[in-house]
Amino acid sequence: MSKRKRIASESGGGVNLNYIITPFLDMSFQLLAFFIMTYHPSALEGHIDGKLVPPTETATKSPTPVLPTDLPPDSDPDAAETILVQVKSVPKGGVEGSRHDGEPSQILLKQLQETKVVTDSSDPSLEDGLKKLDAELKHILNQPGAIKSAIKLEGDGNLRHQYVMRVYDVCKLAGYKNISFVAPKFERPKTD
């Protein structure tokens, strides 16, 4: 009697699945091992969208002389609607109170006619300073007739990226939709 017939007769006429499942299970475990090893929990990652505006054209000399009185006033058109959040940092190798190199030492709110220091290194912790910033931003937004809706975020060149993101988070969660990043004041490297 062949093996196949013997299996069928021993199990009462049906096919004994145990003999077929074993290699199938082996292959399944190999597949499982592959997927476990290549699995990355990248769902934790998020993104912040941004747009890069084209570099502005440099001023060119007019072919005809222009009187200074004919020139348009030199003012920032967005200034009325925009708040500048400026984050100053502890310089490289320095310490200010409990803050170290690259941590925020001072956060300022600049509006059209007013500059206010929201927090500095005399505050016990950065968390306290960020809470103050949150309260201040919400206060500006909730004022009757408030038109401030956009924020320009400017960090010091030495400021660590994580603190820029912390301040961004506070601004966004305070209810401001339009937040743009401003270039830090640093020397542009010479072109090679």
Binding site: E10, Y39, E45, H47, I48, P54, G102, G155, R160, F181
Partner: protein, 159 residues
């Protein structure tokens, strides 16, 4: 009556439920699998946390991934470019954009690349790098003609 311990049928484990579980696990991993290039998921880069960040989207045609480590150096495919030589980085990014656009145009002959071709620069900057270094990379991208960028962050702390 004593049990027949020598019977091979009685000793065989039932593998069917085990196989069911294994197949369900395989299905889970197959559905959630995300094949990424090394530069898209560089474990050496510790991203900052921003709760207000949006979930990832895949609406762009092409992506260029730039990884900036905690020392402010580009890692991965662009590791031989230094931030203090922005013109070289700009030239490389420009070439990359032209190549991507050419391939895209071959695949989409009837479409207008100026309007339809979307290429996004994805900057994965380490939480400890400096703001000026992030800006130097963005400045090179801007001067290379890129208009859209994304900053990658963690939506919550991994700890």
């Amino acid at each position: 009556m004593s049990a027949n311990l020598e019977s091979s049928d009685a000793a065989d484990p039932n593998l069917v439920p085990l196989l069911d579980v294994v197949l369900q696990l395989i299905m889970f991993f197959m559905i959630t699998v995300n094949f990424v290039r090394v530069d898209q998921f560089d474990d050496s880069i510790a991203l900052p946390v921003a709760q207000a960040a949006m979930p990832l989207d895949n609406t762009a045609e092409e992506w260029i991934f730039l990884n900036l480590n905690s020392d402010g150096k580009l890692v991965g495919t662009l590791s031989n470019f230094a931030l203090d030589t922005p013109e070289k980085l700009k030239a490389h990014l420009m070439r990359e954009k032209i190549d991507l656009q050419r391939v895209w145009q071959e695949k989409n002959p009837g479409r207008n690349p100026d309007r339809d071709f979307k290429v996004v620069v994805v900057l994965r900057a380490d939480r400890n790098c400096r703001y000026s270094e992030v800006w130097q990379v963005l400045d090179s991208c801007q001067r290379a003609g890129y208009r859209r960028w994304q900053l990658r962050v963690m939506t919550r702390s991994a700890a």
